[in-house]
């Protein structure tokens, strides 16, 4: 469904990504891990079409994402949605949260997601269904972002992200700003939605434990280079790249 073909990107003559290739099949969830500065978020932005690669291309359902324009691009965008790290920054502070949740549906009046078929004519009802999907109480519909906890805001961002029933949801560090207890709740929610809606996930994180829980395949980036790619159940295999092994060890160390 998504093919990234040897893309490279340079900022201020420093290479941010060198010759990265990867693919995501329908319904699959792929984790991208690496330290800060490893190029994770740049890769995410290129896949979403927010940045152009210097070299290489991204094909999504057979079309080259970076040559699409106008209506064709808009039609594709619908299938690619994102949930950011900072739940506060991704919501409009001046809108009651239910309006933020249904905003994408207003931009795409012709899209009728399967789970909103019966209520597509009623914005408020759509918001209610989406709230229910992400486990939020309908009492919170009228609240403003500053009246919600970090975990609640992140659920709102997820509700918005799935509202158009996208094929691919890119999650860029979706839980790292949340309390530990809330992180687990949000990860459980994302995993359940992925299964229920048959979403594909591109899950970007520096937390190898979160990626292990969420993803079937893992890609490791270091200084803009793809150093390792494997099935999650091969995470502890002896043939892992030394860098991956070190990340695993670090994560185990912390628990002692």
């Amino acid at each position: 469904m998504l093919h990234v073909n040897s893309i490279s990107k340079t900022y201020h003559s420093k290479p941010a990504l060198s010759d990265i290739s990867l693919y995501v099949h329908a319904g699959e969830s792929i984790g991208i891990i690496g330290e800060s500065g490893s190029g994770k978020s740049t890769l995410g932005k290129i896949i979403l079409g927010l940045e152009k690669p210097d070299q290489g291309d991204v094909h999504f359902r057979g079309s080259n994402l970076h040559t699409l324009k106008g209506q064709a691009l808009k039609a594709f965008r619908r299938h690619l949605q994102i949930v950011f790290q900072d739940p506060a920054g991704s919501l409009n502070p001046k809108l009651p949260v239910w309006k933020s949740v249904v905003e994408p549906l207003e931009n795409y009046p012709d899209v009728i997601p399967s789970f909103l078929k019966e209520v597509r004519h009623d914005r408020k009802k759509m918001a209610e269904v989406l709230f229910q999907k992400v486990g939020l109480s309908p009492e919170l519909l009228e609240r403003y972002p500053h009246q919600l906890s970090g975990g609640q805001k992140q659920r709102i961002a997820v509700a918005r992200g799935i509202s158009l029933e996208p094929d691919l949801l890119v999650c860029d560090e979706p839980t790292s700003s949340l309390d530990v207890s809330v992180q687990a709740q949000v990860l459980n929610l994302l995993k359940k939605l992925q299964r229920d809606l048959n979403l594909s996930f591109l899950f970007i994180s520096h937390d190898i434990a979160a990626v292990q829980f969420m993803c079937e395949r893992i890609v490791v980036l270091k200084d803009g280079i793809l150093v390792d790619a494997f099935l999650t159940n091969e995470l502890f295999s002896a043939s892992r790249h030394p860098y991956t092994k070190m990340l695993v060890e670090m994560s185990m160390e912390q628990d002692r």
Binding site: Q152, D179, V180, S181, V182, L187, M250
Partner: protein, 335 residues
């Protein structure tokens, strides 16, 4: 080490917080409730709890920087010989930045943008001493080297030319230049990735040895605390609900909140998990009467609406939970 009220600061304690309570001035709402802990010279003490539990507020009181809308209604904070809670603003200013260094989660905003890092170091140094610019630069370079940064390059950089980890290191360098007795590190690694964060914590431990100071390490995540601290206090709703030697608390958590915090840590697993264990409810759900955790506690019972005193479980471990008496029999006596 963390007795209840009964003993005052023992000889080698650098910092002692005693029966500290903080309320909002006009609503009388208690934000911090009867806090007791102390940090011995040369030790790292961990304070852990979720968002809003009162960790940063505790740090603010120790720094003598409590907002005007809040008020210390009881108790005291003592650093060495000085009782911080009774000092004047001028005396406090002398202590802050010199005796106590503060590192915050927002290291991004530690330095002013568009002014070179070195320039900012020189200003900080000249504000506390009467050194010439040249001498001040020497001092700055010395400390930038100490935190393992390419000193000259960082000195001549603008803040936005440095990575997150480098900025945090530079802010550490500037915080420790006057050899503080206490470093308060409030979520110093939360915004960093695991490797960068671990290296920052290694650096802090190393500096602690060199300066022979104490560290108050604050985090919402036990995994940042476990390996680094000798003693840990677990906070919920403005109270310490469990405190003790870190190894004892981790091996034998008594308070259900501590237990759930430990369980909900994200960990690598040999087997793929289908669902992560979670905690009931949201942070901030705090009971006003009795045990603050009542509304989220899986073991809550009727008596939990009554006040819970801190009960000690042996010399190095105590918890404020009605289960303690029952647990004590099981865990400590029968062994």
């Amino acid at each position: 080490m963390f007795e209840n009220k009964t003993t005052t600061s023992c000889e080698n304690n650098l910092l002692t917080v005693e029966s500290l309570s903080v309320t909002i001035r006009n609503s009388r709402k208690k934000l911090i409730h009867n806090l007791n802990f102390s940090i011995p010279q040369g030790e790292i003490f961990g304070l852990v709890g979720e968002s809003g539990s009162g960790k940063s507020l505790t740090a603010t009181v120790i720094l003598g920087m409590l907002s005007k809308s809040l008020e210390v209604t009881s108790g005291s904070v003592t650093l060495g010989q000085s009782e911080i809670t009774s000092l004047s603003e001028r005396e406090l200013r002398n202590i802050r930045g010199r005796d106590i260094a503060y590192l915050s989660q927002n290291y991004q905003s530690f330095f002013t943008p568009f002014i070179k890092v070195g320039q900012q170091f020189i200003e900080i140094i000249r504000c506390h001493t009467d050194m010439s610019r040249k001498e001040a630069k020497k001092v700055a370079i010395h400390w930038l080297n100490k935190v393992h940064l390419p000193a000259e390059r960082v000195f001549n950089s603008f803040p936005d030319e440095l990575s997150g980890g480098q900025l945090q290191r530079a802010s550490i360098a500037s915080a420790i230049m006057f050899r503080p007795k206490l470093i308060i590190a409030d979520e110093p690694t939360t915004a960093l990735d695991v490797l960068t964060g671990e290296r920052i914590l290694d650096l802090l431990s190393e500096l602690k040895e060199e300066l022979n100071c104490s560290i108050l390490l604050i985090s919402h995540d036990l995994k940042h605390i476990i390996k680094r601290t000798q003693t840990v206090g677990v906070m919920y709703g403005g109270q310490i609900v469990e405190i003790g030697k870190t190894s004892a608390v981790v091996a034998n958590p008594i308070h259900p909140y501590t237990n759930l915090l430990l369980q909900s840590r994200l960990r690598l697993n040999k087997h793929i998990q289908h669902e992560l264990p979670t905690m009931l409810g949201e942070p901030g759900l705090i009971a006003e009467e009795g045990c603050p955790f009542t509304k989220r506690c899986p073991s809550a019972m009727e008596s939990c609406s009554n006040k819970v005193p801190m009960n000690s479980l042996g010399k190095h471990h105590s918890a404020a939970c009605h289960l303690v008496n029952a647990e004590r029999e099981e865990r400590y006596v029968t062994r």
